[in-house]
């Protein structure tokens, strides 16, 4: 006989009621836990995709749109900028690195990014097979994109005009897959990379009848993206040489006609704030549920203590101390918190995995594996169970033994 066995016998006498209260705690933990897991996944994804880029330089328009299209690859670009202007910025001594990207085409919905090999180093990407491109019309594919498009080394494909599937195909220009990247957990996994020259080559030799349906603008202002004297890119991803650059470079960019600077960190904060309203509501809902669950199981434990008044009185009559009676109720709270917390975490993980698998607007989230968040949630549930058991435990400890045993007048 021990405390846990005795508490177990108490619980098994009212299993349905007890399970109901464990489940109400579990639901509250599940709501809070899934919000927390998704928030953390989004933060992780955001940090990975920001890739240490301090400044995005692109065409004037919405800075958030510029960051979303150039770093997160989920929105249409604001337009194109002249390569020559980008090169001027790149040459600035306040710039440690600057990587140009050129967007405009997709294959099966996967964006084709014209860039330099250094783009891979931004995300710490390494080849899992093959090699980087040596010449135009060679491509390296992210791990997720390769799987989605069922493309392997040596395969060829054509790009469609625009950033969404269904655009006109550049049938006269086939890309050849020369390398496949290992998974990084960042946006590069879902991209097809090629050199800038390939993008320019396609657009020098190919003309369309109209605009792509996603608002793709690389024919605007008569500046064909591939013309040698007026070559364009979509954006320049800049890393600062020193903190001083943050004070000077954005101003320099703003002063250049047709260019705008966008700070990924600031835009990410804006994005988080936009998404935050929804998650704050869910967090509030979870907290309210948690408070209701806590109130519920305080009532449940108090009612359980009242219903086993005679048993507790018997233990007292047999010599059990008040602290022992308190301890038994605390153990019941502990068990309730542990079980409710564990079930809640399982529900939270299921919910988070479902949300992450669905993705938020095609933006897949890497839900962290079992770890700190789960431990914090579980500890919180256990602490709540213990706290909720204090009042009923004190009632148990003060059980009137004689009255409860039927000896009172």
């Amino acid at each position: 006989m021990n405390d846990f066995k005795l508490v177990g016998s108490f619980i098994l006498r009212r299993p349905v009621t007890w399970l109901f209260h464990a489940l109400s705690l579990a639901v509250a933990i599940a709501v809070l836990g899934s919000v927390l897991l998704i928030q953390r996944a989004a933060d992780t994804r955001l940090k990975r995709d920001l890739a240490g880029v301090d400044l995005v330089v692109g065409a004037k328009g919405s800075p958030l749109q510029l960051v979303m299209s150039s770093l997160f690859h989920v929105d249409a670009p604001t337009g194109n900028i002249l390569l020559s202007q980008a090169e001027t910025i790149r040459a600035n001594r306040l710039v440690r690195s600057a990587i140009p990207i050129s967007l405009g085409d997709n294959v099966g919905g996967v964006r084709i990014v014209g860039t330099e090999k250094a783009f891979g180093t931004l995300y710490g990407a390494e080849l899992s097979s093959g090699r980087w491109w040596d010449k135009t019309m060679e491509a390296v594919i992210g791990a997720e994109a390769a799987e989605r498009l069922s493309l392997g080394l040596g395969d060829t494909f054509v790009g469609d005009h625009g950033l969404m599937p269904g655009g006109q195909a550049h049938r006269d220009a086939r890309y050849k897959v020369t390398g496949i990247l290992a998974p990084t957990g960042a946006v590069i996994d879902r991209l097809v990379l090629t050199d800038l020259a390939s993008v320019w080559a396609i657009h020098e030799n190919h003309h369309h009848d109209g605009e792509a349906k996603d608002g793709h603008k690389h024919h605007e202002r008569g500046n064909e993206i591939g013309k040698k004297d007026a070559r364009q890119i979509t954006a320049l991803l800049v890393q600062y040489q020193s903190p001083l650059a943050a004070a000077i470079l954005p101003g320099l960019v703003s002063a250049t006609p047709d260019l705008q600077p966008a700070s990924p960190a600031r835009e990410a904060l804006r994005l988080t704030a936009l998404l935050g309203a929804g998650s704050n509501t869910l967090t509030l809902l979870g907290t309210v549920l948690l408070a209701l669950a806590a109130f519920g199981f305080i009532i449940a434990l108090a009612s359980a203590v009242a219903s086993r008044r005679r048993e507790l009185a018997l233990l007292g009559a047999l010599g059990a101390s008040q602290s022992h009676l308190l301890r038994l109720t605390l153990i019941e709270g502990l068990v309730l918190g542990s079980v409710g917390g564990a079930i809640g975490i399982a529900f939270a993980r299921l919910a988070a995995a479902s949300i992450a698998a669905t993705g938020l607007g095609g933006y897949a989230l890497p839900v962290e594996s079992f770890g700190q968040t789960d431990l914090v949630l579980w500890s919180g549930a256990v602490a709540l169970g213990l706290l909720g058991a204090v009042f009923p435990g004190l009632v148990a400890a003060r059980t009137d033994i004689v009255r409860s045993l039927g000896g009172g007048a």
Partner: protein, 231 residues
């Protein structure tokens, strides 16, 4: 009335009561001017309902505080001890058998027998518990859940539990209430055997006429709280 000199002249009593008034919420239900009980002795507390038999038993067991006077158990003056210490003393040295049996329904018969040792954090000697179940004739039911027992069987389990820690005093409150004649005979015999087995003093509060025949020493409480007489 002083019952000490006439019946229990031993110099080392297990229980010593002096000018004791017992009751609830300042209302006296029984008074015992003087009483001493030694180890190995048996005493039947008798009287009509409401005469204070159970109240006196609970007071002797330290579950109730006396309204006046003293309870000294095995040399310990309860008035000098905290509730916690009295509880521990009760758990370790007094075997209590209650009117309504009070076994824990979710536990096995064996677990109920060791419950007293568990309550005071003493070593739970399960071999001894099995031996005691053998004495009360229930060794075959040791793994049964307590709620499946008949009332007579449950009372025998309560007797085994009271014997586990070799008590110096066994207190039984209406142990044969609602038992048939056969079970009353069994329980009466077992109580006497239990006291002998552990060399304990035995106090039984009862108004069961069937038990009166088995015991020599009686303390009769009347509904008049002043009165109390021995035979």
């Amino acid at each position: 009335m002083d019952m000490r000199s006439a019946n229990f002249p031993d110099a080392h009593p297990i229980i010593s009561l002096a000018n004791l008034s017992v009751g609830y919420q300042k209302k006296t239900v029984a008074r015992v001017p003087s009483l001493q009980v030694e180890r190995g002795q048996s005493l039947l507390l008798t009287g009509a309902s409401g005469s204070g038999k159970s109240t006196l038993l609970f007071t002797i067991g330290g579950l109730l505080k006396p309204l006046a006077g003293n309870v000294v158990f095995d040399g310990h003056d309860f008035s000098q001890l905290s509730t916690g210490k009295i509880g521990r003393l009760r758990g370790e040295r007094i075997g209590f058998i209650f009117q309504d049996v009070h076994l824990l329904a979710g536990l096995s018969v064996l677990d109920n027998v060791v419950l007293g040792a568990f309550a005071v954090g003493k070593r739970q000697e399960r071999d001894r518990a099995v031996e005691l179940l053998q004495i009360v004739g229930l060794q075959d039911l040791q793994h049964r859940k307590a709620e499946t027992l008949s009332r007579g069987e449950a009372q025998r389990v309560a007797i085994a539990r009271a014997m586990l820690l070799q008590p110096k005093l066994i207190l039984a409150d209406e142990p044969t209430a609602s038992l048939d004649d056969q079970n009353t005979e069994i329980v009466g015999t077992l109580l006497v055997e239990a006291a002998k087995h552990t060399d304990a003093a035995l106090l039984i509060a009862t108004h069961d006429q069937r038990l009166k025949l088995r015991f020599v020493d009686h303390l009769e409480l009347s509904n008049n709280p002043i009165a109390g007489s021995t035979q």
